[in-house]
């Protein structure tokens, strides 16, 4: 009885700490996350729905949306294939340089996106290593769509692999070996055993990869050249309009990106809630 009483007297300051901490976190969240997010939509609709739709329907806006989708449609599947292959190699084979490969996969997370973009300019730009040769053959990479795709692939490379490696390591290769002894070919083993075991983690990785591919600014900005209607993706279009004091237009497109982010977040939460045990617990580096 006395023990219960004592624990109550101890509990009060402790509960106060709980309340203070929770309040602090909430204030922080509202101030730095929810408020800016709300601002995006408020600013976008400041002059009503008609100007909002008008801003999105402009040809430059439509072409930016198309370009963003095009870049994502190329970059995401490529990184899906690369991510699965890299995760497979790292978790299933022993080879020299394996640790190095694992470390290099993380490189895009640790390098500033601007540097990632610059690297491609130095390689393929007019003054770059391959610049003259590309010029002679009439191939344009920098300040063109291929450059945007390359920069995006580079920046989003780790997402799928980083998601799969811990899971495939934990699952081990026994099931795949069992499939082989039972007579499955390599492809049968992959599609009937490996893929079903990693499908939710793979989807999760692709989701994060896609969100980053569509939202990337830094690397893309360096290689884009900002040619309106040709090489501006949505984030670049937002910046350009903002700089030209076209606030409704800037926030209208920003609101689309924000919607995409919210959708990704919802799907991500759904996956985490439903298949949490099949998804590696850690979330790979920031956007």
């Amino acid at each position: 009885m006395s023990a219960v009483m004592r624990s109550r007297t101890v509990a009060w300051p402790r509960r106060l700490v709980h309340v203070v901490l929770i309040a602090l976190a909430l204030v922080f969240l509202v101030l730095f996350l929810l408020l800016p997010l709300a601002t995006v939509f408020v600013e976008a609709f400041r002059q009503g729905v008609a100007p909002y739709l008008e801003a999105i329907k402009q040809p430059e806006a439509l072409s930016a949306i198309k370009l963003t989708l095009l870049v994502a449609v190329i970059a995401v599947p490529l990184n899906l294939v690369f991510g699965v292959a890299a995760a497979w190699a790292i978790t299933r084979f022993e080879f020299p340089g394996k640790a190095l490969l694992g470390a290099f996969i993380d490189l895009p997370f640790s390098v500033s996106p601007v540097v990632s973009g610059l690297v491609y300019v130095l390689l393929f730009g007019a003054q770059g290593w391959f610049g003259p040769w590309l010029d002679d053959h009439g191939i344009k990479i920098i300040f063109a769509v291929p450059g945007l795709v390359l920069a995006t692939i580079f920046v989003t490379l780790p997402f799928v692999a980083r998601e799969l490696i811990p899971l495939m390591q934990a699952q081990g290769s026994e099931e795949e070996e069992a499939a082989r002894v039972l007579g499955a070919s390599g492809w049968q083993m992959f599609f009937r055993v490996t893929l079903p075991n990693i499908r939710w983690a793979l989807l999760y990785g692709v989701l994060l990869c896609n969100a980053r591919a569509m939202g990337e600014f830094g690397a893309v900005s360096v290689v884009s050249g900002h040619i309106r209607g040709l090489t501006t993706t949505m984030p670049l279009e937002v910046e350009m309009r903002y700089n030209e004091y076209e606030y409704v237009g800037a926030f209208a497109i920003a609101s689309l990106l924000a919607l995409l982010a919210l959708l990704t977040l919802a799907l991500k939460s759904l996956l985490e809630w439903r298949y949490g045990d099949e998804i590696a617990a850690h979330a790979p580096g920031g956007h």
């Binding site: 026994e174 099931e175 070996e177 069992a178 039972l182 499955a184 009937r192």
Partner: protein, 372 residues
């Protein structure tokens, strides 16, 4: 099929998993690969399954090069240590897997697959469990699904990697007997890996004892137990007392106990002797050489009692086993003094560096066995 394994070597980074292993596996036999972890037994099994390859050496199947065949063509059924059931497939789908992945020309019809799966479910006593997922099964049930899955492809040989390792003691014994019966019924060549000597001796027709990538001895369980070929086999199989004996005027002896013999005719001065707990006489007559030993403790373990004996003159602890019912017959009590002498022993002479020489093994038996 008769498998001839010849001079297999396999090296992993930093350690020799297989070191010159030769072995033949007869059709229909039940062979145990027994050894501590890291002895190479699982590597050997994986090579047979086609999941690993030796650095050198060969495996022939009735004269055909077995290693040249890919895993899927070897007609092997394998049960993995942790069963490796496909977690996203039901029991039925797991068992049918090996049939469904066949090229369409060789694939049985749907109805035929279904019928075969049903037969196997009955055989492994899992009727009505077909729609469950592996996560919904107990350890023993999972093991039987793994076995049914391996049998579904009608293999020529069954490989089992520590088949009972992950089960609790009761289930283990039941499944062991059941597997033995299944083997007698199917007459399928079966090779299983285990670190449990009791399991190997009880189940197998033949046991290959492995240590540090080498086969120490191959033989029937009786031979392995009664005529161990090396000190390692003596120590690994069953419990054993170990002590040294020295050559004297009347042959080899240890303290007041003497063997009255020297089969090596003076070539060695020291040997190591292994005596099983059930080979110790506890009330040797005064006419026979024996040790004075003190009975320090009696550990009663069901039908058997383990006696902890101490020979003060040699500073030697011994363990003796007697049937529990003999305790009162012999009037045994902790603290009493006994005249103790081995009835039999396995001895290996020691070379000058103190290494035991397996090739010079001597199996000694007391001349006139008198009941204790």
């Amino acid at each position: 099929m008769t498998l001839e394994l010849s001079r297999l070597h396999r090296r992993f980074a930093g350690f020799q998993a297989l070191d010159d292993v030769s072995l033949s596996i007869a059709p229909g036999e039940f062979l145990a690969l027994l050894g501590p972890s890291g002895s190479g037994k699982t590597t050997l099994l994986r090579i047979l399954a086609g999941l690993d390859y030796p650095d050198s050496g060969s495996v022939h199947n009735d004269g055909e090069n077995f290693l040249a065949q890919p895993a899927r063509e070897r007609r092997i059924g394998m049960v993995f240590q942790h069963y490796a059931l496909f977690r996203h497939l039901t029991v039925v789908e797991n068992i049918a897997f090996g049939l469904r992945v066949r090229p369409w020309r060789l694939r049985p019809s749907r109805g035929e697959i279904r019928a075969r799966v049903d037969r196997l479910l009955r055989r492994v006593q899992l009727e009505g469990m077909g729609a469950r997922y592996p996560a919904q099964l107990s350890g023993g049930q999972r093991q039987r699904v793994a076995l049914a899955r391996a049998l579904a492809v009608e293999p020529d040989m069954l490989l089992l990697d520590e088949p009972f390792g992950a089960l609790d003691a009761q289930v283990r014994v039941t499944l062991r007997r059941w597997l033995r019966e299944l083997h007698e019924e199917l007459e399928l060549t079966t090779v299983f890996v285990t670190h449990d000597q009791e399991e190997a001796l009880e189940l197998a027709d033949r046991v290959a004892v492995m240590n540090n990538g080498r086969i120490e001895q191959v033989g029937t369980p009786e031979v392995i137990y009664q005529q161990p070929a090396t000190p390692f086999v003596c120590e690994f199989i069953g419990k054993v007392n170990r002590f040294n004996v020295w050559s004297g005027n009347q042959g080899f002896a240890a303290g007041s106990w003497s063997l009255h013999d020297d089969p090596w005719q003076g070539r060695y001065t020291e040997a190591v002797a292994y005596v099983r707990p059930e080979q110790l006489r506890l009330a040797a007559p005064a006419s026979q050489p024996a040790w004075e030993a003190r009975l320090r403790h009696i550990y009663l373990a069901g039908s058997v009692a383990h006696l902890d004996l101490y020979v003060a003159s040699l500073d030697l602890s011994l363990e003796a086993d007697v049937a529990s019912e003999d305790l009162s017959r012999l009037g045994l009590q902790a603290g009493m003094e006994l005249r103790v002498a081995p009835r039999g022993a396995v001895l290996f002479p020691l070379d000058r560096d103190g290494r035991p020489l397996s090739a010079e093994r001597w199996i000694w038996q007391a001349r006139s066995p008198v009941p204790a």
